[in-house]
Every structure is written in structure tokens, then in C-alpha cells.
Symmetry: C2
Amino acid sequence: MKKSLGAQTLVFPTPTWIVGTYGPDGRPNIMTAAWGGICCSDPPCVAVSLRKATYTYGSLMARRAFTLSVPSESQVKEADHCGLVSGRDVDKFAGTGFTPVRSELVDAPYAAEFPLVLECHVVQVFELGLHTQFVGQIMDVKAEEIVLGEGAVPEIKKIRPIIFSPGNRVYYGVGNSLGHAFAIGKEI
Amino acid sequence: MKKSLGAQTLVFPTPTWIVGTYGPDGRPNIMTAAWGGICCSDPPCVAVSLRKATYTYGSLMARRAFTLSVPSESQVKEADHCGLVSGRDVDKFAGTGFTPVRSELVDAPYAAEFPLVLECHVVQVFELGLHTQFVGQIMDVKAEEIVLGEGAVPEIKKIRPIIFSPGNRVYYGVGNSLGHAFAIGKEI
């Protein structure tokens, strides 16, 4: 018998990602986002939802481009910091010590230090309520060599992404392998 | 210096969720989905993307309702199985031994055995390409008592959700706590 918890955004896992944009003055900015996910395989697209009140919202509407970076466990303080303060008030690259890099594919910056980055053009904007969903077409994925495994495939255990747990609002790392997808279910 | 991997759906983490729907004949069905995420806090909404070719796509278009369940590590074989076979061909409740439960809030079923379930009305359908994105308004979240912690908040370490890693297509568990969100970044 399940207990009703009410209509809440409680689901697991959710990601911890960093959205990079240029502000109206051309300054690079990064913010943390947990509301998002892959939304299409072809064309490859990722969705991220932001409140209108965020500084990044205006940048996204104006430039129609963003980067989405996957921070590593060791960057959890910096990742959290980028969700605590606004690019309106502070320079988060200065605060974190991260290095802004201009994407050659889209009109948006990313931090060199994150192990993996998606460069995205905004192809759809959906108003959903408190949040606006931006669908970004992934123009390229770039990764540090150190997180690549066999066949130049990025490996989650090398990236060590950060999982955000809504409810108690705690960050977690990735644990042990549970088996190969599209394979272990064949045993049933 | 980052290495270019091309335009691919490579991002980390992605979830492993189970979408429950009724087919045209009223039979309950469940399928596995990794392309999705929370997309709005108010109203609380979750997005999930499916290919038109799936059996669930037709069910979602017809009934405009679904459940989204979070399977636990111990259910990884069943979760994988539900992504390997189609509800057109097989009864996945029979195959997994799971128990179908009719939602009292939306016109969709879920498996009693999953520790957490979101009951959703489809409020938006966005055609994005190979995938169609369904935005579901979360009408309720229901959880097994055993996964609840202090204040009846579901705890990720009790749910033990499954993380899907694209690229090498491996499932992973959740690892250690990295600290409190909206808190540890204050040290910067």
C-alpha cells in the first residue's frame, strides 16, 4: 500500500547540469539546472527548464544557444555555487576560478574544467508554467580525453556526474554497475 | 583540450523510468524510458519522450494519461525487460510477475512493486523528430512507506533508483552523498 505524497516534483534520479550562456553585455555566465533530460534521438536534443526570473532565461531567449555541461563529483561545490547566485550580480567564472571557453559552434560559452559539454542551438521554447522549457539541438558533444573509454565512448564512472535528489535536496555520486542495458532483461 | 564526439545524445546521468498506460483493449502495459526529466515546478510536470513506433505512444495519444514509476536496483532485470519487448506482443505484467494497479487519479496503470510512482495527465504533446515528448502534469506521487525518511520525504538511498548511462549502455546504482544542495556552494 503506497502513501500519497501530493503533487510534487519528486522523481529519481535527476541530473545536475550547468547551462552556459552569454548575457546581454556579452559576459559569459553559468547556472545550475536539474530540471531537464534528453528529449529526442534524431535530431539529438536535450531539454532544460528554467524560471523566467533567472538571468539565463533572458540570455537564452536573446541568443537562442546554450551549452550544457556535466560537472564531476570533485566540482560539486562549484556546481552548487552556480545555482546559489545570479549572473546578474556576480561573475561566476571569477567566483569558481573556471575558464570561459567560447563555443565555435553555438553562441554560448562553457567552462573548460567540466569533463563533458553539449553545444546546443535552441530549436523550441515551450511555456509550461513557472518554468519555460528550452529544447536544444545538440550540435556536438565534447569530452576530456581522460573520461573516454574504449571506442572513444565517454564512461560515466570516469565522468563521475552528480545526481540531485529532490525532496531532501542532497547531491549523490554514481554507484556500482548493475548490468548491461538491452541485455540483462533477456533473462526474463 | 576537449575531443569532439559528434552530435549524439550523450549526457549523464539519465534516468531509468517505467511508463504505464492502458492499451486500446484496456490491457495494462509498462515500458522503459530514459529520455525524460522534470520540466516544470508549478504546475508540477514531468516530460517523457517516446518514439511513434512504440505501443505506448498510441496509448498515450488515446488516453492522455500515464504513470511514471521509479524502479529499484533489485528490479533492474525487469526494468530492462520492459524496454526489450513490446506490449503489442507480450503481457509484461505476466512476464515480470508484477501486479497491475489502476490509478484512481488518472486513466493509467502502474506496477505495485515499484517503490515510487507519479500519476500524470498529459497536458502537452510536442513533436520533436524521431521522438514525441509528452508533458505530464503530476497529480500525485505515491511511495512505499519503506522508502520514506524524516518528514515523509522519499530518500534516494532507500529507493535505490537505476541510472542509465548512454554510450556504453550500462545501468548503475546511486553512490555516496556529496553534500547538501543550496548549501555546500556557500563555501565559495
